[in-house]
Symmetry: C2
Subunit: 324 residues, 2 copies
């Protein structure tokens, strides 16, 4: 079995060998650009790791892993249009560099190319793999719609929010792992267990992101410190803050989130101070630990030698570790 | 074998039984709306007709036919955003009725749902059918990109234009027919022949549309008379007009297509008069007849009893007949 780091290198090398360019160049240049933007390649690496975990040959999983990464990047290209995001990983987003029409159409093409790569597996696995992928794609769209809805909805509950990040982030990590299990011909129950590991790991990933946006010790994650607070994003912290707030803190938060004359830096510090006082970061860390526990329980229950699960365990631990 | 009219009714009935609605409603209401907009259901009916032509059971083709129609409607939803089109079949377009974000995301979901329906076939046909569908989806995106490019490109050739409408319109009609052949387990060569019939029929369909926009005897096709001329669309007629024009007509056309003070009605009449004088409609009709001939040749060469091809022959003849 390879380490996560080795699989990252293997995947990067395989991806570099793909030639996504074709005619018309207006359609394909943005695809090449998007796929070359980098990133952690979290999902394809999960796919390869799960394949090896269940005794499969990672080489059979390389093309489907490209498909998963292509799909993920397609969602980023379209999401950036919907969110008016100008930058991604420090570079101009596709629709900003070109235009909205090209963003829409290149994205559509990436979705179709993703299917092509997913299908590069044995005949007897085709239906299972493509159905899983397609169902996941629909769920990711649903998650993005809930996310858009919540921007303007006055009352979002924490279960609403958790369901949204499950759909928007969790299911694709989960499906990537299950795809690896399918390619390794793992038993159904085992494939479902690794799916659930991925689902909870995805939740950990997103909740840690929420937390680090405000309470990180450094800025190495490339985001503006407190960016979620600046744009009033209804994250776990935001919702939990209101839940725990007394009348006085509630009024203070309302004021901070509505008065547009407050300087961003000041707003972030003031909101963070109230949340800290209410114990929001500790509640969040506790919630994250519980999801991490659930993820690891699914991993421990797998019917594979313990030493094989070490890499995925370390992977989950590292996500958790970022919060301390 | 059923007639085209009967297959239209069968498909409409099957479509009405589908429940596309789900949660969140912001995502699914536009999908239901788009699928209920009506239209000729040309592509799914082609799929059913080809299935019966090769001795298949049309009931096995009903769900893939829904998938094809869902895909076609997805392209319309996204194209309407790119083309700033406010109306479609006399109703508000999705992005106008809701907003651009919902248009993008509902469209993406429709593409994924389309795959789900296409996959509702026997295991041994899965790869062939899904690969055909996916390849076609990519080509349709390429066609739309060429179409967008041509809006601002100064010199578009007639072969460029024909290639664009092949991709944007031809391949989906062709793939619908071939999908029917695949479901009926037709031989490869037969499936390819019906694909080519569809390709040329699709070209006839689009070229007839171009012609009728300007030279129709009546307005029953729901388009403003000369709408393509009003917005300087580089159709077959536009390109052929410049090809056949002498210096004098070229200057007159340049003036008509660039002077924004000319009233639309006046512009349409003047351009149409020049084209008529140059013999453009006759050249177009001749081109259409040649494509119709090629389509019919593919149909005649099929290894099925002549009486079976009658319905598709009548279908192609009717498209051609609209020009006289």
């Amino acid at each position: 079995m390879h380490t996560i780091k080795e699989l990252q290198d293997i995947f990067t090398e395989h991806l570099a060998k793909q030639d996504f360019f074709s005619d018309p160049k207006e359609l394909y240049e943005p695809i090449v650009y998007s796929m070359n933007m980098g990133g952690k390649r979290l999902r394809p690496v999960c796919l390869l790791a799960a394949c090896e975990l269940f005794g499969g040959d990672y080489r059979k999983a390389l093309d489907p892993a490209v498909g998963i990464e292509m799909f993920h990047n397609f969602t980023l290209v379209h999401d950036d249009i919907m969110d008016n995001a100008h930058l991604r990983r420090g570079k101009e987003t596709v629709y900003k560099k070109w235009d909205t029409n090209i963003g829409i159409l290149s994205g559509d093409t990436m979705f179709a190319i993703a299917f092509d790569y997913i299908m590069r597996i044995d005949d007897d696995l085709m239906r299972k793999a493509v159905l899983l992928f397609d169902k996941t794609a629909i769920e990711v769209c649903e998650g993005q719609q809930f996310d858009l809805n919540y921007e303007t909805m006055p009352s979002v509950t924490i279960p609403d929010y958790l369901n949204m990040i499950r759909l928007k982030t969790g299911v694709l990590v989960a499906a990537s792992l299950k795809m690896g299990a399918i390619i390794a011909q793992a038993e159904e129950a085992q494939a479902d267990a690794i799916y659930n590991f991925g689902l909870y790991t995805g939740l950990v990933f997103q909740l840690v992101d929420d937390l680090l946006d405000v309470f990180s010790r450094d800025h190495k994650f490339g985001k503006a410190h407190g960016g979620d607070i600046v744009c009033n994003k209804k994250t776990y912290l935001y919702l939990k803050g209101y839940e725990l707030a007394g009348e006085e803190e509630k009024q203070a938060l309302d004021h901070l989130f509505s008065d547009k004359t407050i300087e961003p830096e000041e707003k972030v510090q003031a909101v963070a101070a109230i949340w800290e006082k209410l114990g929001v970061p500790d509640v969040a860390r506790n919630e994250i630990r519980q999801y991490h526990r659930k993820a690891v329980d699914y991993l421990d229950a797998l019917n594979v030698p313990k030493k094989y699960t070490g890499e995925l365990r370390r992977f989950a631990d590292e996500l958790l570790g970022r919060t301390y």
